[in-house]
């Protein structure tokens, strides 16, 4: 995106906060103990009725308890206890999932301490003008009384009292309380880095902030609500799945309720306890119990990666995304152009060109300049150290993939003697930069680099023959190089030198190019396998854009893109029925962010962008869009896998319970007792116990999400059907048999 901050690093897992207990996937005893009170509270039928499956189990538990109380037996009590355990395991799953967000919420709450704000007291038109506010008189008020539109002054060392936009000044701000990132960030008025968050600390300078969110509705408030799950609403697919589970529950309710008349007709009237056990075993308790935990854990996985989804709906939509709009700069390429090659003309040696390019760049603080120094050092072994002049050669582009060599031998001798050298900074007028070096013989060596036409104009101005003269071949070579570099998507930088007052001559061309981040091509291949089309968005011209797109392996390009183009592209894709995801940070990205189905705003971005998107990435890493899509898919797969598992389980339960119910009257049904369970009571109890324990066993999986590896839909379906479908068919046969072996030892049952 335009004006994007430098990305923190190459694509890859971004270290979020690892604070707080229980962020791992396994279920520890401390975690369970902490979640138990919540689990018991959730047994409240008024809350449970939202999940019909669990509500039916609870009704069954109440009924069996009453039956056991009036007609006590070991079997009746055992069933009653295990039905309660079934409900409790279900509420425990949800409670554990919620507790994972609680730790984070409490650390966020710490930032919400009451502070004193320095509110500017001025007429409203002065406030609106936004200038000269720093010098206005201020009144100290509690931060909780600030209203939208108030203007406050924050000095170094003070906590910013509320969410707002910087209207005056520039300051470095410590946002670690929210992002977990310790390095301070710059916040300044105007532009795309004006948003500040309440609770963060100004480290230097003074800024004037206009408050944009009332107390209690700030970004941190929303974050707390989100991570705690207190505002959690069921997502569309979760609701739809719940409807399917409810209808399955009704079907099984029908099957069990009507079974009694058939049993009476057949002369084998069943006890209520047995019928309730059958019902509970058949209805999809496993997925019913874990459904909300899966949803909460999905949001939590995003939070762990420092992404805040403003709604669960957005997480689900992420799984459905068909088109990813990725900004070239910072997402696909490192933010800056880097020198990639040196091309000489005429009889100039590469060493000569390299030396000249390096000298002219030593004092050049731009990333391009630094990259030339690095290239020359790494490829031509020049100037590993610059002890003589102490010129700023230590600079290495932060994003360089190569390590900085420290054990260097001196390269080109005393070439680094920059004593007396004069830097010629880049100017819009000359469109060149360079250096004037005094030579030992008193003459001056002038080296210039810049755009081809500008450098050539300078060369001609020194009296060098024009391209039609004897130097024609050089000019042709130069033109060919410039053309080649341009057409490959790079930027040609022409280097020329003039010694003394003689005619200047062109040495060659430095090939500057956008460097595609490592591993991007593989990620795009994965996305393609998942059926997601990637579109690179860039302000570059079409030629450059296509070259980089080809190198990175994206599917499509939007070149010379304006924010309107972006919005139009999203609308076009959506009109075709596709879901679009994008990341953005600027105010002019806001309409596109709002239009996209998944809009990830960078935390460094403007308030407008953050409000338009439905997710905020605290790390401001646009590459994370890909991870967000994967998390969305993993959430949906986990739901589907456990639903399949849950339904497949029922087959074994029939083999356990039906023979147990009717073997007395129809001994031939013993054939169906394939597990050879020891007695009818132990068979039924074993099925009930398995049904409860499987919830407990699957809680870690539901919190972690099923294993997800990007692949085609059919490959994924085949694998998951095998693991969760066939696995769900086989597991209960083994489990019920094992439980039966133990239970049959209990007197009164076995």
């Amino acid at each position: 995106m335009a004006g994007s901050p430098a990305s923190p690093g190459p694509a890859g897992p971004v270290g979020g906060r690892k604070t707080g207990p229980g962020r791992g996937a396994s279920l520890s005893w401390t975690q369970v103990r902490a979640a138990l009170p919540g689990a018991f509270r959730k047994l409240d039928p008024r809350e449970l009725v939202a999940s019909p499956v669990l509500f039916v189990v609870e009704l069954g538990a109440v009924a069996t308890t009453l039956l056991a109380a009036f007609d006590p037996s070991v079997f009746a009590w055992a069933i009653a206890v295990w039905l309660w355990a079934t409900v409790l395991f279900a509420t425990l799953a949800e409670s554990v999932a919620e507790s994972r967000g609680k730790a984070q919420a409490s650390s966020l709450r710490a930032t919400q301490q009451q502070t004193t704000a320095r509110r500017v007291v001025a007429p409203s038109d002065t406030l609106a003008s936004g200038t000269g506010l720093a010098s206005c008189p201020t009144a100290e008020v509690p931060s909780s009384t600030l209203a939208v539109g108030d203007v406050v002054v924050v000095r170094a060392g003070e906590i910013i009292p509320g969410d707002g936009d910087v209207v005056e000044g520039v300051a470095s701000v410590d946002e670690s309380a929210i992002t977990g990132e310790s390095a301070p960030v710059i916040r300044e008025s105007g532009g795309d880095r004006s948003a500040v968050t309440g609770g963060t600390v100004v480290l230097s300078d003074t800024i004037v902030v206009r408050i944009t969110a009332p107390a209690g509705h700030t970004f941190v408030d929303r974050m707390i609500a989100l991570v705690e799950g207190s505002e959690r609403q069921r997502t569309p697919n979760e609701i739809a799945l719940n409807i399917l589970l409810t209808s399955l529950t009704i079907i099984f309710l029908l099957a069990v309720v009507t079974l009694q008349p058939f049993a009476v007709y057949s002369g084998s009237k069943q006890s209520m306890i047995v019928l309730i056990s059958l019902l509970v075993c058949l209805i999809p308790t496993t997925i019913g119990a874990l459904l909300s935990a899966i949803g909460i854990a999905g949001m939590d996985r995003l939070v762990q990666r420092n992404v805040l989804a403003m709604s669960g709906r957005a997480v689900e939509a992420a799984g459905d995304v068909d088109v990813l709009l990725l900004d070239k700069t910072g997402t696909i390429t490192y933010g800056n152009r880097q020198a990639a090659d040196l091309l000489t003309v005429g009889d100039v040696t590469t060493a000569r060109l390299a030396e000249a390019a390096r000298l002219s760049s030593l004092a050049d603080e731009t990333p391009e300049g630094k990259s030339i120094v690095v290239l020359v050092r790494e490829r031509y072994g020049m100037g590993d150290r610059t002890p003589a002049a102490g010129a700023p050669d230590h600079a290495t582009p932060a994003t360089s993939s190569g390590g900085e060599s420290t054990a260097g031998t001196a390269g080109a001798g005393g070439a680094d003697d920059l004593t007396g050298a004069e830097m010629v900074p880049f100017s819009a007028h000359t469109r060149m930069s360079g250096i004037d070096l005094p030579l030992p013989d008193g003459r001056v060596r002038r080296i210039r680099k810049g755009a081809g036409s500008a450098v050539q104009r300078w060369v001609h101005s020194t009296g060098a023959p024009t391209s039609s003269g004897p130097g024609g071949t050089v000019a042709e070579q130069l033109a060919a190089h410039v053309e080649a570099v341009s057409s490959s998507g790079g930027t040609p930088l022409v280097v020329a030198e003039q010694v003394g007052e003689g005619p200047a001559r062109v040495l060659g061309v430095v090939h500057l190019k956008d460097v595609v981040k490592a591993g991007m091509r593989e990620r795009f291949d994965e996305l393609r396998a998942m059926g997601i089309r990637t579109v690179m968005v860039t302000g570059d011209n079409a030629v450059t854009a296509r070259a980089i797109a080809a190198e990175a392996g994206v599917d499509d390009v939007l070149a010379e893109a304006t924010p309107e183009d972006k919005l139009a592209l999203i609308r076009r894709e959506q009109a075709g029925g596709r879901l679009v995801a994008m990341a953005g940070d600027g105010t002019n990205d806001a309409p596109a962010l709002a239009q996209a189905d998944v809009g990830v705003a960078m935390n460094t971005g403007t308030t407008a962008a953050k409000e338009a998107g439905n997710m905020v990435d605290l790390d401001s890493d646009p590459t994370k869009l890909i991870e967000i899509v994967e998390i969305g898919k993993q959430l949906l797969i986990t739901r589907g896998a456990l639903t399949t598992f849950s339904i497949a389980n029922d087959i074994a339960k029939y083999f356990a319970i039906l023979p147990a119910m009717f073997m007395v009257v129809f001994p031939q049904l013993a054939v169906l007792n394939v597990m050879r369970l020891s007695s009818p009571e132990s068979a039924i109890l074993s099925a009930v116990v398995f049904n409860a324990l499987i919830i407990l066993v699957l809680i870690p999986l539901s919190l972690r999400g099923v294993r997800y590896r990007p692949s085609s839909a059919s490959a994924m379906l085949r694998r998951n059907l095998l693991v969760y479908g066939v696995g769900g068919l086989v597991a209960p046969f083994v489990g019920i048999k094992l439980i039966d072996l133990v239970i049959s030892l209990i007197p009164g049952i076995g």
């Binding site: 099957a255 009507t258 059958l278 059926g531 029939y654 059919s714 379906l717």
Partner: protein, 577 residues
Amino acid sequence: MLTQTSVLTHATATQAVGEVASQAPGVWLAVGQLVLLLLALAAVHAPLGAYMARVFTSPQHLRVERAGYRVMRVDPDAEQKWSTYLLSLLGFSMASLLLLYGLARLQQHLPMNLGFSVFDPAGAWNTAVSFVANTNWQWYSGEAAAGHLLQMAGLAVQNFVSAAVGISVAVALIRGFVRSGTDGRVGNFWSDLTRTCVRILLPMAFVGAIVLLATGVIQNFDAHTAIDTVAGGTQHVLGGPVASQEVIKELGTNGGGFFNANSAHPLENPSPFSNLFEIFLILVIPFTLPRTFGLMVGDKRQGWAILGAMGALWFVAVALITWAEMAGPGAAPLAAGGAMEGKETRFGLAASALFAASTTGTSTGAVNAMHDSLTAPGGGVTMFTMMLGEIAPGGVGSGLYGMLMLAIVAVFVSGLMVGRTPEYLGKKIGRQEITLVALYILTVPFLVLVGTALAIALPAGQAGIQEAGPHGLSEVLYAFTSAANNNGSAFGGLTSGTPFYNTALGVAMLAGRFIPIALVLALAGRFASQKTVPATAGTLPTHQPLFVGVLGTVALVVVGLTFVPVLSLGPIVESLS
């Protein structure tokens, strides 16, 4: 039909001993007729499928159709919203129901009544519902209760239009899948109904009737005449327009026989060839509609997948019933040397099994053998095949939309496992869609289980049961399964011509037909108004064998889990005896 009053006398176990003494030729006969049948179905599949697709997409009206529209005062080009489509359909069916009820109640006073008296109110209700709902459950004996006018103007007409209603609903659902971002218009009911009758059913029935005539099926307007037989006894030779009614009975998956013995009667089904041809007629439209579906949605592979699932379930049913009947488990068949009780010697075991699987797999319900006399596992399979919801391959139209509803359930569960919210043919399965599908899936099991439970618990229901024990339960279960699924075949044994059963089964037939239709049309409307999502590599592929497997498994598991408890007290116990 009532088997105990059957005119059928040939099929006794003793006569059959010789026929089944050696099994090997029987197996070859079974395979041979199956291959012949499949070849015939395969030959017409593509051309008939394409023809039907053209019928429902062509903008042209035939002259005779235009005349019909003028009489009905409808505009065939006016696209209807799903709700209007449904109201038209319900209005038409209600009118048909009243007409049939009137014909049955007033039969005595109408011409060509052959001297038969009126139907009682419960019986007339049952018969009217039965034929309007494409069920053709017959509590009465055709040759002993229904005159030619009722048969031809009432029942035969319904055999055409009730079948056309089913096909229209399926076509409306297909249009729902095809259309994108409209306001829920799914076609014109009157046009669909008329075109199905005029362009598909009538021509096919005409050709089919001529073939049947050639095999010896009768077609006349004679009353029943008594003749003296060579042996000196008196036999009633029956007359009537049988061939014309027989053909649509099979073609429209109706199943209501002209005679009580249905396709076991020699004048309805004289020879092994006519038998195979009738099975062909039963299966041809249900097995071809997936092709029409594939063509209309613009992806023939989707049609193959649906056909694959239908065919696999049907094939398994054929194989199981054939095995059950030929292996003949049970004491009586063992003593007799073969399970020939209730079967025609001129067809034999394999042809009876093939017919039984096809008539229950489609919602036809015609029979060429008494299902009550099938072996216990064989009878259980016919019941289970109906419980699948008539999708293997199902009734005309209803089989396709029933399978598509199950496909949506299959997509809903397995679609999540590829990491996207579920979609089928580019339509998202959201909250409202899954609600409609869930209600569809619930309706028939509700009718079957509650109906059977009531019948088994109430004295009025118990009175009709012929045999005690598990078989008695099977009789009642079969009746309600057959009625609610609009099959219409009877297990026999059960005395169902009582006011209780006539009323209860009538309710089951009516609700089992029109509630699902309403839900399917509502879903069609939802889909038509949804935007179509383009398929990508990340979309669940619904045309691959893997999905066919998932679809078949979902059908078996959902139905199995619902009905296994009651089946375990009926056919399963019987089979294990």
